[in-house]
């Protein structure tokens, strides 16, 4: 059976860190998938950047559910410097959360890049669609925290191969 879903790399923290980066990603897949399992000791918002670009080249739409509140939905079309996977502080501390990120057609050099993410745990759910306004092929992905991710937090990057 041909392998269609390949693990590219896993990053597991052995000490606290505010970011992890998958770099030197080859262009030999059709799409990328990141599966994460993370926590933090203090309030921590999570975001994602591509190719180290910290300029205002990101936009997104989101739907989130938070304890005791109605559904939160909205857009960030103000040229943010990252795509946020989580929108309210206070979720990560003392609880583990899971993350699924799909990055589509990441290696092409003619279109802006799009992604979908799902992130949540016991305190809230988050669904995002994001755009990186660049036609460059994605060769690195950085997962950012507004504070340290805790030891043991882990992310795995997969590539989906063309059939």
């Amino acid at each position: 059976m041909p392998k269609t879903y390949e693990k590219i790399a896993t990053e597991t923290l052995t000490s606290g860190s505010t970011s992890i980066t998958f770099s030197s990603i080859s262009g030999s897949y059709t799409d990328l998938v990141i599966v994460g399992h993370q926590t933090a000791a203090t309030n921590c918002e999570i975001g994602i950047r591509f190719n180290g670009d910290s300029a205002g080249n990101y936009e997104q739409n989101f739907v989130s559910g938070v304890a005791g509140n109605a559904v939160i939905k909205g857009s960030n079309t103000d040229s943010g410097n990252q795509i946020y996977l989580i929108w309210t502080q206070g979720t990560l501390p003392a609880s583990w959360t899971g993350t699924i990120i799909n990055i589509f057609n990441y290696a092409n050099t003619t279109t802006y890049k799009t992604m979908l993410s799902r992130l949540g745990g016991k305190n809230e759910t988050n669904n995002n669609s994001g755009t990186w306004k660049s036609t460059a092929a994605i060769t690195s992905v950085t997962v950012l925290g507004s504070s340290n991710f805790s030891t043991g937090s882990t992310w795995t990057l997969y590539g989906i191969k063309a059939a």
Binding site: T4, K7, T10, G65, N123
Partner: protein, 170 residues
């Protein structure tokens, strides 16, 4: 090299069933992915997902939900509701709920487990029961997951319900 590897599949045939169990799940993968297509035999709203159903479950789970109409949070629950479930008393015939569930790092013996669950169903009739929903669940237990049980919140899984569990190979 990694791949989606089929671990097991359950199809409900002949008559409805109260639960579907995947047992003896090997620890050789990094992430479990479960794909489901489900319908209840009678009145119900959701289905449950239990991890390692071998003892007391008091206060084992907490979960949050965002659906197309509302959000909710439940703490200290004996089981999590993880997905809408097509209700045969309200929805058209042959309508099944879809479900995709990720369980990352499921074989860890030191970290609390989480489940990312996305599902939904259409309703060609009134549309009042059409839903898309995400449930994110955290368990307070750290042992490796070796068994998963699915149960309707009420009644049984109808004939035609299928659940398939895959392992994402390391």
């Amino acid at each position: 090299m990694a791949n989606f590897k089929l671990i097991a599949s359950h199809n409900v045939t002949g008559s409805s069933t109260a639960s579907i169990t995947f047992s003896s799940i090997p620890a050789t993968y990094e992430t479990l992915v479960i794909i489901g297509s489900a319908r209840a035999s009678g009145d119900t709203d959701w289905f449950k997902m239990k991890l390692n159903n071998t003892g007391s479950y008091d206060a084992r789970y907490a979960f949050s939900n965002t659906s197309s109409t509302a959000s909710d949070l439940q703490a200290s629950q004996p089981y999590p509701l993880v997905n809408p479930l097509a209700d045969s008393t309200q929805l058209m015939a042959n309508l099944f709920t879809s479900a995709e569930i990720y369980v990352p790092n499921y074989s860890s013996s030191s970290q609390n487990k989480v489940m990312i669950c996305t599902g939904g169903e259409a309703d060609e009739g009134s549309h009042t029961n059409a839903r898309i929903s995400q449930w994110d669940v955290a368990s307070d237990r750290t042992e490796a997951i070796t068994r998963i049980d699915f149960e309707p919140q009420g009644n049984n899984f109808a004939v035609g319900t299928t659940f398939t569990i895959y392992g994402l190979e390391a």
